[in-house]
């Protein structure tokens, strides 16, 4: 005998939208950091530190990979030096400066490419070409083209970050719902208001994604550029450590760079969360 049809709809039906959405007050609390939520990460970190402290010295000699203790001592020594903070400040300033300039130019250029067929046909192949050029080529060219080390670094930041933001912004504008765009057009806005009402906010999720990728790339490239040509900054300090075969120093400066990038990423994420407070995020 055939079984009666099951009633999956009733069982899995989500609660009414309005009820689901009584979350604006509760969401921030859920998102708050807590030890309980990060237990797995903390346990993994602890395991890695224990492995480093006890297993690594048995596997490789100290001059290949220093012990945890050596790195901690080096960390303390580097933090005691006043120059450390000058280096961190210089690198952070370069990252933020490159990020802001590349971000602004990338957003403006991305919007222009998406809104104008002629500009798109002319410049999009150039942007795609630039993204395909290896970073090392730009570094070598920057050394030949610019005498000032600051100019070299800013040039590298720009040429490596701006195309990423440009392409993401372009994709963001192209992804705007045609129906929404038509609706706003039907209200008769001028071009400036069209940009403000639909084009820029509609593209923002992609723009933020581009900015985050750009920040990550920029942070790594700035250190590369500093190592090649600057006399201050985290990259320069890493280069000095490399010259003296100081692996503990390289690790400490790498950690400092990661911390700087993590702080910038947290700040950007906070801005993003505020910006996208209207969005219901997917939570897997």
């Amino acid at each position: 005998m055939k079984a009666p049809p099951a009633e999956p709809a009733a069982a899995i039906e989500p609660p009414p939208v309005a009820a689901q959405e009584a979350t604006p007050e509760t969401a921030p609390a859920e998102a708050r950091w807590s030890v309980g939520r990060h237990t797995n990460v903390l346990l993994l970190l602890l395991a890695l530190l224990l492995f480093w402290q006890f297993a690594v010295p048995l596997l490789v000699p100290g001059y290949v990979f220093p012990t945890l203790e050596t790195v901690v001592d080096k960390f303390a020594a580097i933090l005691r030096s006043r120059n450390t903070y000058v280096d961190i400040f210089n690198t952070t300033l370069r990252i933020i400066g490159g990020f802001v300039v590349s971000g602004l130019v990338g957003i403006c250029f991305g919007v222009a490419l998406a809104m104008s067929k002629r500009l798109n046909a002319t410049f999009m192949p150039v942007v795609r070409f630039i993204t395909g050029v290896p970073a090392l080529t730009w570094v070598l060219l920057a050394i030949i083209w610019f005498r000032s080390t600051e100019l070299r670094i800013w040039f590298l930041m720009f040429v490596l970050m701006a195309p990423i933001v440009t392409i993401n912004t372009y994709d963001g504008v192209r992804s705007i719902s045609y129906e929404l765009y038509q609706m706003v057009l039907s209200l008769g806005p001028n071009k400036f208001r069209l940009l403000r009402l639909i084009v820029l906010p509609g593209a923002t999720p992609f723009v933020f994604s581009g900015l985050k990728v750009g920040l990550s790339f920029g942070g790594r490239f700035v250190v590369f550029a500093e190592a090649m040509s600057a006399d201050s900054g985290i990259g320069s300090a890493m280069y000095t450590m490399n010259q003296t075969f100081d692996i503990a120093g390289i690790i400490v400066w790498t950690l400092l760079l990661v911390i700087v990038l993590a702080v910038l990423d947290v700040l950007l994420t906070k801005v993003e969360r505020h910006w996208f407070r209207w969005r219901r995020d997917f939570q897997g």
Binding site: A18, L180, V184, S186, L187, L197, W278, R279
Partner: protein
């Protein structure tokens, strides 16, 4: 009385340049709608109704003919034609009140003024306490109410309801339709209701136009019953319109 909107031999073709074959989307359409009148347009999917709506909204330029709108000289920041679409088309990053006032913002009205203008309309549709919420916090019916507010805030002479109740459940659609018709009667707005639903057209309109494919008026029905929304569906008329549309699809198959 002058018509609020008058279409004279309006047609629209696509293609025909760069080696692309010409496609007639709207062959020749002429009609007028007067203030306070509800004109319903029915036709098969793809017959050119959306192109006709886009032309009335100024989103497409007619290939031939003309569209004349009897716009008031100036009654604040208003648009002569506004539309409520099948989907609410609310901007997800804007609050309910900002969505309702979107048309005023597009016209450059200050934030305070546009919020002051939008709030009474939100109150009118029962959303006065939802102004600060985002669209994803609302049900489908509530979102559609916001899109109705967005249209009425502009004080349009002509309101286009483009399948405006088509994706809602029957009960919500009926409530919303009644609310909308009440406001239309009070504001004396000329309404063009585009719908697939013949029963809805007969229950709502003063006149019903049946479109062929490509869009041209193949028959017009004038309904002599009481006001829109209060009339029972005419089964015979419904069948006649159904047959007309069905025949059109046979011709174009």
């Amino acid at each position: 009385m002058k018509p609020a909107i008058k279409l004279t031999d309006v047609g629209k073709d696509f293609g025909g340049t760069g080696g692309k074959p010409k496609r007639v989307a709207v062959r020749r359409v002429s009609f007028s709608v007067y203030p306070g009148e509800v004109l319903c347009i029915v036709g098969k999917s793809g017959c050119g109704k959306s192109t006709l709506v886009n032309m009335m909204l100024g989103l497409e330029t007619p290939s031939r003919g003309s569209i004349t709108i009897d716009s008031k000289p100036n009654s604040g920041h208003h648009r002569p034609v506004a539309a409520v679409f099948q989907t609410d088309r609310l901007l997800p990053w804007r609050t309910v009140v900002d969505n309702a006032a979107l048309g005023l913002e597009a016209a450059g009205v200050s934030k305070r003024q546009r919020h002051d203008a939008a709030r009474p309309w939100l109150e009118r549709v029962g959303l006065e306490t939802w102004g600060g919420h985002y669209p994803h916090e609302l049900s489908g019916g509530m979102r559609q109410r916001v899109s109705i507010c967005r249209a009425f805030v502009l004080q349009p002479e002509v309101l286009i309801l483009d399948e405006a109740f088509g994706h809602l459940d029957e009960v919500t659609a009926q409530q919303l339709r009644q609310d909308c018709l009440k406001i239309i009667a009070e504001t004396n707005t000329a309404v063009i209701m585009v719908t697939h639903n013949i029963a809805e057209a007969l229950a709502t309109g003063h006149r019903v136009l049946v479109l062929g494919k490509p869009a041209e008026i193949i028959k017009e029905f004038e309904l002599k019953a009481p006001g829109p929304g209060e009339r029972k569906v005419y089964p015979a008329l419904r069948d006649e319109i159904f047959d007309l549309i069905e025949k059109q699809s046979e011709y174009t198959a």
